[in-house]
């Protein structure tokens, strides 16, 4: 289930500002309260794919350790995509919440 939402998770983790792969994974772990403890390597192909799709941009920097480090940031297109995904997710979440809780959803589901 998590796999299908990796794009949105990575975009959301980067919404606070540019970061390198390790920091993105730490951010996902932190913001999900440790619930999304995925194999770290799976995030990198997602980053590359999102960059190819124009949703992320990247640049190489030299870290304090002297190692070359790739830093990713969300593009305008990526930002728009995240906004759209958030809306869809909220509608879906409300609908499921309504179903499971037996209450009416706040918004019309997508």
């Amino acid at each position: 289930m998590l796999k299908g939402h990796l794009d949105m998770i990575v975009l959301a983790a980067l919404s606070a500002g540019p970061a390198h792969g390790y920091a993105i994974i730490e951010e996902i772990r932190r913001r999900s309260g440790g619930a999304f403890d995925l194999p770290e390597g799976t995030v990198y192909p997602v980053l590359h794919r999102l960059e190819q799709a124009g949703l992320l941009s990247s640049r190489w920097v030299t870290a304090d350790s002297g190692r070359r480090r790739r830093v990713y940031g969300v593009t305008k297109r990526g930002d728009k995509m995240l906004t759209d995904r958030r809306k869809v997710w909220e509608q879906f979440s409300n609908a499921i919440g309504g179903l499971l809780g037996g209450t009416r959803p706040c918004k019309t589901p997508a």
Partner: protein, 235 residues
Amino acid sequence: MQDAGLIDDYVERLAGKLDFDRSLSQCVRQEVEDHLREAVATDATNDVAAAERRAVANFGDADAIAAQFAVISLAKQSRRTGSASILGIAAVFIAMKGRVAWYAATQWTTNIDLESIVGIVGSVDRYAFWFSVIAGIGCWLYIGTRRFPHAFNSTFRKQLDRFLLVSTAMIAALMASVVSDGILTAIQLSGTGFSAGSLVPILSMAIEILCAGLLALHIRSTIRRVTQIAALWNA
């Protein structure tokens, strides 16, 4: 101690699996090594060897990760092939039109005995070329509008099969057009002695052959890449 061992072996294994795409392999090597070294550096324990083992284990299976990167590389290569097709066809068109303009400017006449052959070959040339234009644009639009795949699944495989089938038909038609151009050029040049003016049609033919040849090699390389990556996913 920290600079050799488990992390190096892991990074080497992962990058080695992506050797077919050197720039990706190098990029992944640097990026993953930075990640693993960072994980070791931030590990709370003082046991470096154990921290390296944990970092590598948390990163996941190198083969599975390489397979995911390979799909992105293949998607990129197929898009490049689509763009190369358009550029190749455009270059052939410019060379062809340049040669025709040169014939007109220099009032080069066709050997009257061979006019019927010129008519047939000229028709083959035209139809083959315009077929390649339509197929090339179709390929470029088709592959360029597909979403980047998550995996080497049946949907992506079908997209690639369609793309490569039309690309192969396109390059076959372009080759037929270039061969026809070669025949027409040979007819035009026959009966006239070699002069400096002959260099223009010969040069334009060389450009056409080069462009079509490079494009054929590019398509072949994409077909081979599909086979390599299919093997990686099936391993």
